[in-house]
Symmetry: D2
Subunit: 249 residues, 4 copies
């Protein structure tokens, strides 16, 4: 078990998390999938050998338990991907404050909780920090990648979509701050701007009307996540945008 990389994917639902799980498993990683409701994960678990953990990522206790369970069962994660989000739409004057708050909690605050737990797992413990081999200038080094999944709304606030812009902008601010803070500790934090619709399963009804490759293929996105995870630290990226070739931007 010590030789296998461990990946944690939070916010499983759409096509991206499943594609990531498959790719990570194919690369020999042990995979943990975290979702509010794990019932729908049965097929994916069977296919990839992944472990499924029930977790509401906007609850500190849930996130703590998730990381503790993975640490005990699979080992220290070297790749953590945060995919959760919740979209609320409507004219600004009609939005329900409670729903806006929930959207911000799920899209932004949950990203903080997962990012913090990942950093804690990847940074050297204080006891071991002193004698760590991977140190530079006397500072102990960490190890691993923490990736956040953004959207078009991460960099552009669309009308009638203020809550989603708030959550996604917040997540990007978190990712950028963590990238600046943790890169010098050998932890690679990156943010992905998914600028377009992601195909949901092979028979996505939007496929035909969008034309060839009019939706992002989850496998293609997952490939770029893995390329990013494999980057040599002398040339790290903190952000990348991905969009279909025929998407206007």
């Amino acid at each position: 078990m010590a030789d296998r990389e461990v990946a944690i994917i939070v916010g499983v639902g759409g096509g991206l998390s499943a594609a990531l799980a498959r790719l990570c498993a194919a690369e020999g990683m042990a995979v943990a999938l975290a979702a509010r409701n794990t019932d729908k994960l049965a097929g994916l678990v069977r296919e990839t050998g992944a472990m499924a953990v029930a977790c509401d990522a906007s609850q500190p206790g849930d996130v703590e338990r998730l990381f503790a369970t993975v640490a005990d069962t699979l080992g220290t994660p070297s790749l953590v991907v945060f995919n959760a989000s919740r979209r609320v739409r409507g004219p600004i004057q009609d939005l329900d404050p409670g729903e806006v708050r929930e959207s911000l909690m799920t899209t932004g605050y949950a990203g903080f909780l997962v990012g913090q737990a990942a950093a804690r797992a990847m940074l050297p413990s204080e006891q071991s920090a002193g004698q760590s081999a991977g140190q530079s200038d006397g500072k102990a080094m960490g190890q691993g990648s923490i990736f956040f999944t953004g959207a078009s709304a991460s960099v552009k606030g669309y009308p009638q979509s203020a809550p989603f812009a708030m959550g996604k902008f917040a997540l990007r601010g978190l990712a950028q701050s963590m990238a600046r803070e943790l890169a010098p500790k050998n932890i690679h934090v990156a943010h992905f701007v998914i600028d377009g619709g992601i195909r949901q399963g092979g028979d996505d009804p939007r496929g035909p009307q969008r034309g060839v490759d009019g939706l992002l293929e989850p496998d293609a996105i997952a490939r770029s996540y893995l390329d990013m995870h494999r980057q040599n630290r002398s040339a790290w990226s903190w952000e990348i945008e991905l969009r279909p070739w025929i998407e206007s931007f």
Copy 2:
């Protein structure tokens, strides 16, 4: 009263809100100041004739009461400025989740509540919408300016400052979304990136070490807010950065 412009300034504390209150009063506006604690506002209220309202801007009920009180007392606001924020700092692994949540609520979510209440006050009511004179293409028009105060952290996530980046990025996403949504309804939404320290009172201890104009003068910032409020709608700005001449960026 019908002839006086009404300004609401939320998040009073530092030098900027006081300077805005003075400038708005000098321009003949009726001013309402909203803060959690109104005790410290006594001097400013005396000086400007402003009305002080106790309000925790992260509480929907408080914000609703604030706008209702102003509507009843002063009339419909034509300028609303949101200045509140709460900064939490520290290494990502050491941050307290509860404090991070509070920071996001005060810096981001409160901005939504105030922005929404301002939009509701400035948009035509549904009854009056039909017969409004200020319509274009049959759509009823609103009227007024909604301004959000950002910081360097609105556009750059600094290390050890993830919570503030989250809140300020979220506020910028809100402002951009609202600007795109409300500009065509004749409501001017703008975001100000205050990139530097603001002088707090005449004897700010940081003044001497920063040199001449090493801090932003609150009166100079307030001037740019008013210039923005006075912009002709054929040439509106949605964002502006302000920094001292000697600040590196």
Copy 3:
């Protein structure tokens, strides 16, 4: 003459330069207008009392003569605005390299020549630098504003418009570099992103189809330039976007 501010406006043609000339004159400034062809400026010269100078701003010698003439006749400029540009459009494979080069020279390189000449005029001469009164930390200070007019293409490269994007992006890079270099010397460099069509004369044929304020009013733009010029140096902006309220962005 010593008491009048001097403004130089380069690239006269459309509505913006005329509006700037009128506003500067109304504010009591002595105005110089520079254009390749000064024939069409007769009316504006009569109206504003401005001086017209023939100048191809992409020629170093022309720009040098322009600034020398103004220095001799009106005095040291405190406001220089660069408005010149040349747009070339078409599919990338069909563009004529010679025209692309000219576009880059007129839109970008001419901006450098004018910006450099303005900086030379506004910085203290080396002889006077030692005894200057306006020094800080022993460094001599300059004085004045250098403004560059950009377009939507300054921040977004549109299809079939590569040459204009190249010239306008280059101008923005110049403005940003000069702002960082000259702000600490008391020279205010700023860049204006004009995001929309500017009304050209009172009977602009695009007016009606764009609706009320569907084009930027030149007078409204000029107002924002003057507001920027008057900013207190403790709160300078280096960039501002201006667009009609009904322009989508």
Copy 4:
């Protein structure tokens, strides 16, 4: 020959072009190297089997000859990388206009010439366009990747470095315009922001003082270029930043 991919790398000099040549050759591509002076390329040519072509990329005739020679000798390129640039530094008032112009020509205009020639080579000829198999909605498709190498100065104008900012901003505007224009024609245009120093050869004197990975390893950069070239078109990126883990940003 028909089965080998063809890569053209323009602006050979530093470590990046050599690393790209090695990686492309290792991937089975036929490689053409274009530089003003090909003398220094002898070793690299021997090592990679590449073809060296003398070419001043700021001269339309030279660029035309380069692409014609490659077409005749190796075939149609599927990857073209533009690496050339020329940096001029100094206080704005001291810069030599002729050198600034040369810098803009080499860094920006040459990029246009190479980008245009690449587009012409990759787009279907007008004769073949009608019967092309790779068409979508009746429009003929192209094929290939056109990559531009930027720098920190592509997105930030540093003081005393206006000419380099102008050239690199212009190149980015070009790349963004071409990306929007050519992506729907199946040509992948991307821009790389290299944010840090690139190691020049194994014994780069800056290496030790920068510490472990304090410079970007050319092989690591080349890897990201190839990953980008291999991206599935349903999830293309148009820009990526690369920097050493310990570089502050």
